[in-house]
Amino acid sequence: MKIKTLTSAIVLSGATLIALPSLAADTIKVGVLHSLSGTMAISETTLKDTVLMMVDEQNKKGGLLGKKIEAVVVDPASNWPLFAEKGRELLTKDKVDVIFGSWTSVSRKSVLPVLEELNGLMFYPVQYEGEESSKNVFYTGAAPNQQAIPAVDYLMNELGVERFVLAGTDYVYPRTTNKILEAYLKGKGVAEKDIMINYTPFGHSDWQSIVSDIKKFGSEGMKTAVVSTINGDANVPFYKELGNQGISSEDIPVVAFSVGEEELSGLDTKPLVGHLAAWNYFQSVETPENEEFIKAWHAYTKNSDRVTNDPMEATYIGFKMWANAVTKAGTTDVDAVEQAMIGQTTPNLTGGVAVMNKNHHLSKPVLIGEIQDDGQFEVVWETDGVVAGDAWSDFLPGSKDLISDWTAPIKCGNYNTKTKTCSGQNY
């Protein structure tokens, strides 16, 4: 009997504990929804620190609207349902004004309904597959047309590549990106037989056969390149195998969309020199903003070896824009800020100016970098001017008629230009 009363007591007290409304004074609250444990912790902890750093800086400048900014950090532990739960916690219990968070698409998809239900505001800082535009989310990472397509253009025009291996981890981002690329390449007159598509599971570690297939595919007389959407952990063994099977970047260059400075810091880059990556940001870019940012980062982490990467820049831009938008709107009210966000501009760390478009995606420059033996990238090509992020790809049958425009009169995340209707909204 005792035990049961005890437990029921605990459950109840727990309930009330959780339910207690947070009594924080008038600070502006910034929620941080990045996994600090589990598989995604590797990538996401960095972003958490970035946000905290930005908050610090903002507070040094006197905060926002005369209030201090307070960061509320929670840990969704790389567990997708937890993203929804913690998101709800941030919005209802901690009453945060904005959330910076998520890395994987699935985590974003998981928290999205909560955001729309409770009308929260989230900044999503990672390159992703597109095919989404929510009123409550701002996508500061690259859409496929800001990463994949320019990269392929570079391969075709600069390196004269005629055959493509689209190798990816089997999840939605590579799937979609490769679908888009396939359509795009065929549009450019690349034959079916010159495109090889291959998917591997997460953390795939035995790349022998695949790499040797690629080698064969590449040895058939036409210039071949690999477009890699291989995710995180699987990259190290992949590149090691490439190196060992003697595939040099001159024979078959690999252009990766998920390999940044952070990932490279995990492996010996000597055999990889010359392989490529497409991002909107590289640590090696020499601009005053970037140097300042890196300096601040090293100071904040008290570690001069910590690298910076593209999602960090995306977070940086997102935060700056949000701060400006709040100042402009004079309030942290979501709807006001959401409108104020559109048209916001912030200097990129790589030079030029990023603009927030009507579709909640950024216009950013696209850079192609070659891996150097010091684990950094050397920019070998960049788009002249910025590329506007495209929420709905024009190369997918499903979405070619869709656009996103959050300004009046359309005010719709997926507006069908043919039928002139707005579908799939939760309100």
């Binding site: 009997m1 035990i3 049961k4 009363t5 437990t7 029921s8 605990i10 459950v11 109840l12 727990g14 309930a15 009330t16 959780i18 339910a19 600090l36 444990s37 929670v74 840990d75 532990a77 567990n79 997708w80 349902p81 929804a84 739960e85 709800r88 916690e89 209802t92 219990k93 994987t104 698409s105 699935v106 998809k109 998981s110 999205l112 309904p113 909560v114 239900e117 095919e131 089997d170 999840y171 939605v172 799937r175 979609t176 679908k179 998917y199 599971p201 997460f202 997918l396 049958p397 499903g398 979405s399 869709l402 995340g413 997926n414 069908n416 209707t421 579908s423 799939g424 909204q425 939760n426």
Partner: protein
Amino acid sequence: MTRLTAWFSEGRSTGKHTLPFVVILLSVTILASAANLFLPADSIFYVSTYTITLLGKYLCYAMLALAVDIIWGYCGILSLGHGAFFALGGYAMGMYLMRQIGDRGVYGNPLLPDFMVFLDWKELPWFWLGMDQFWFAMLMAVLVPGLLAFVFGWLAFRSRVTGVYLSIMTQALTYALLLAFFRNEMGFGGNNGLTDFKEILGFNLQADSTRVALFLITAILLAVIFVVSQKILSSRLGKVVLAIRDSESRSRFIGYRTDRYKVWLFVYSAVIAGIAGALYVPQVGIINPGEFSPINSIEMVIWVAVGGRGTLIGAVIGALLVNYAKTRFTAIMPDAWLFALGAMFVLVTLYLPKGLMGLYGQLKAKRNTVMNKESQA
């Protein structure tokens, strides 16, 4: 006669927990729901929807813990693959909810779920047919896990795969399913799984009332399953099951087809897990292959171990306590949590082989033996 009643309670030391448990469970849930629906948000007793969904989730886990306990605690079959049955139930519900979205998906396709549209699928795969019917989906939610459990159990138990081997096989099973469901060709949404649900049986999933309803249903079903399981386990079948746990070969030599008993218990447990999964999905709003990951299945086992295997109430308590602790810990100090969890595994197995309830039981057992001594004297 007193002897007989005494014996009755003796043989089934868990039996008398049932009523109080049901009462407390239901009263708490009803109170919480009422507090959420009828109290103003600023009231001190107001229970936020966040809490409701959280408790709802815990109750699903408790149900799952029951499932694990029934076969591990009572029959000594340590399944490291119950996450699989849970997830399958969840997917059945998820598929139903997916079909309910209808043409409100981002691509406005009336038939195909979004992920199929942008993966450029032309028509619905056969295993999605009928999933738009609630009854059918729910049937699947119990049938599929049950069937899988039956086939697996039938094979395994008839060829007398036992103990550790079985545990490892179940783990392999859920691992294989994990890999399978990650594949986008499977047509279950790959890594993203199924999400962005709109409504269930026409009720808006975002509405508080729906959430509370789901929460209540979960609680009631948990109570029902608890009572039924209690009944089953305190019948002679329950004794046979215990006998199998303690000495399977002996049970065979007194004429019980132990393999059949194990199969049916395994199926029963799997079905419960499936139901738990089906209730879990609409409350958390997403189902994805992560639920299949072996580590989840092992975590369930530790809930039971902490609460006390071999007692249904223990399983429930374990699930609630561990998950509550998890929620609090991960909020406060994420790193420490894994240390805590790990330590819990080690310490419980070393010092609390029968968990919290075991501790309680030992004390009682002492008292009883004393009583027996007296009665003999």
